[in-house]
């Protein structure tokens, strides 16, 4: 349904996406996971016909995104990151306007249908200006569903929703995924795990990992990170802990506590505690550290055996992220 080959986009000197190649089959929900500025929105905009790529090619529903842009746009439902709504219009009028632009023969019926689908029928006459963020998000989604598109492209569809609505939208997306091909972007890992059949992790415009959520989960569960703290001076502790088998990536934090990662599949906590206490330290803390998305990226790329330059790239990941948010 979606085929992307060597897609590259430059904004002036900055390369937003770099040589992306992937595809999505019919009835598949493909998750685009990455930090802000990773190139998710750029990729989606290109696939929707909003802007052309610098190089590379892509087809959506069998049509070339550059040569047959209008055909692509007829078959794609798109929810941009900032939900595009006219505050001065009533909900029904807005959706009717979008339906008319798509030449739907049964425009009013379709508007009623999609309003039902996103549970907004009771607000049809209300002005968009008076809607909450979550409601706007749902109207944006309704707009993308109007023409029963073959391909749905959703840029951060659950952002700004309350937990109940998030569940609702996720269920809706899963439901839609049965008939439509869905490409959705998110920076919430668990969301990708729950909703998607396949996940693409993208950073700095490149695909870092492509896998099913279950496999990703397994990779993540394999290794764990812990924080270790002792009372007083921790001299010699670092080399002591480093000598324990099954420990990788040890480093000392500013407050003197240690942070270490274990080799996948081994729980070394009892051993660490024993060694530390036996050497006369007062063990205060030994706790697992939850992984932020950035750390998961680091983790995933470190586990990746082949591309060595990728690691470097991931190392300046945080600074790049800040830069791109500007």
């Amino acid at each position: 349904m979606i085929q992307v080959e060597e897609l590259t986009k430059d904004y002036g000197p900055r390369r937003a996406i770099d040589d992306l190649t992937f595809n999505a089959e019919k009835g598949e929900i493909l998750g685009f996971l990455g930090p802000n500025g990773a190139g998710k929105t750029t990729t989606m905009r290109i696939l929707c016909g909003y802007m052309p790529p610098t190089s590379g090619r892509a087809t959506v529903a069998g049509f070339d995104i550059i040569e047959e842009s209008l055909e692509v746009r007829r078959r794609v439902g798109y929810l941009p990151e900032t939900v595009p709504l006219y505050p001065d219009m009533a909900v029904f009028d807005y959706l009717k306007f979008m339906a008319d632009l798509r030449h739907l023969p049964d425009a009013e019926e379709r508007v009623d249908d999609v309003l039902e689908q996103v549970h907004m029928t009771d607000r049809a006459e209300g002005y968009i200006a008076n809607l909450s963020k979550g409601m706007r998000q749902r109207i944006g989604l309704a707009q993308a569903l109007l023409h029963k598109p073959e391909v749905l492209i959703l840029d951060e569809p659950t952002i700004g929703l309350d937990p109940a609505q998030i569940l609702e939208v996720r269920n809706l997306i899963r439901e839609l995924g049965r008939e439509h091909t869905v490409l959705l972007s998110t920076h919430i890992l668990s969301e990708a795990q729950q909703v998607c059949n396949r996940v693409l992790i993208i950073n700095k415009g490149r695909i870092v990992v492509e896998d099913t959520p279950d496999n990703l989960q397994a990779r993540l569960a394999g290794a764990q990170r812990y924080s270790l703290g002792v009372r007083g001076e921790a001299e010699g502790l670092e080399s002591l802990v480093a000598s324990i088998a099954g420990i990788a990536h040890l480093n000392v934090r500013g407050d003197g506590s240690l942070e270490f990662e274990t080799v996948p599949g081994q729980d070394v906590r009892p051993e660490v505690a024993r060694v530390v206490v036996n050497h006369g330290y007062d063990l205060l803390e030994l706790r697992p550290i939850g992984m932020s998305l950035e750390e998961i990226f680091l983790q995933l790329t470190r586990d990746e055996p082949e591309p060595p330059q990728m690691q470097e790239e991931m190392a300046d990941f945080t600074s790049a992220d800040e830069e791109m948010e500007d």
């Binding site: 909003y50 595009p84 632009l101």
Partner: protein, 243 residues
Amino acid sequence: MRNVWTLASREYKLYFATPAAYLVAFVLLLIMGIIFYANVAGSMIQQFPPTIQGVLGPLMTLLLFVTPAITMRLLAEEQRLGTMELLLTAPVRDWELVVGKWLGGFLFMVTILAVTWLYPIFLNQLVNPGIDQGPLVTGYLGVLLFTASLVAVGVAVSSLFANQIAVFFATLGVFLFLWLINLPSQALGAGGGELLRYLDISDHFYNTFYTGIIDLSDIIYYLSLTALGLFLGSVFVESRRWR
């Protein structure tokens, strides 16, 4: 063409939903009313009949200032709201978007102009045996063509910025430039002066339509300017995609 109509009718209806458009129309009619009153009173004192030119002249000048206020929203607002992304990913061609916006704005201007017909009607009642119908008809034909070209230029400028104030002043600047461009023509002598006079947007009105004459070359001038505005607008919108 269907898309053009869909876009234009949404735009037209939206003018009636916002206070700004009413205000602009109100100010136009108010100032015209004051000038109209002054004209009629003045001509009564001086004992000569008031003419339709007393309506057309101020109307033309006021349009220079009113049109940017009406057109500034057209594409700038879409960019500010982010709905540009929606329109550019809908199955709508760039020129359909621009022409739709132009038509919506133009129809609203025509609505305002229709209301200004009140003044010629009053005038007709006041003057015995009625006003000269020739300049009235050609005058309003000229005003319509003039407005069509102003709105087209306005749409093109509106595609350049997301800020409406910036669009207003840029549009006004372009209008005044076109309005005053023939001022240095006398100093330039025959060749250059001729060109400047041809480019001038007011020359094509005051020498002909204003006095009851219809000249094809003036109609062509205004239609070309309209087409140029719409073409540039489409180019600007398309160029957004490449940024």
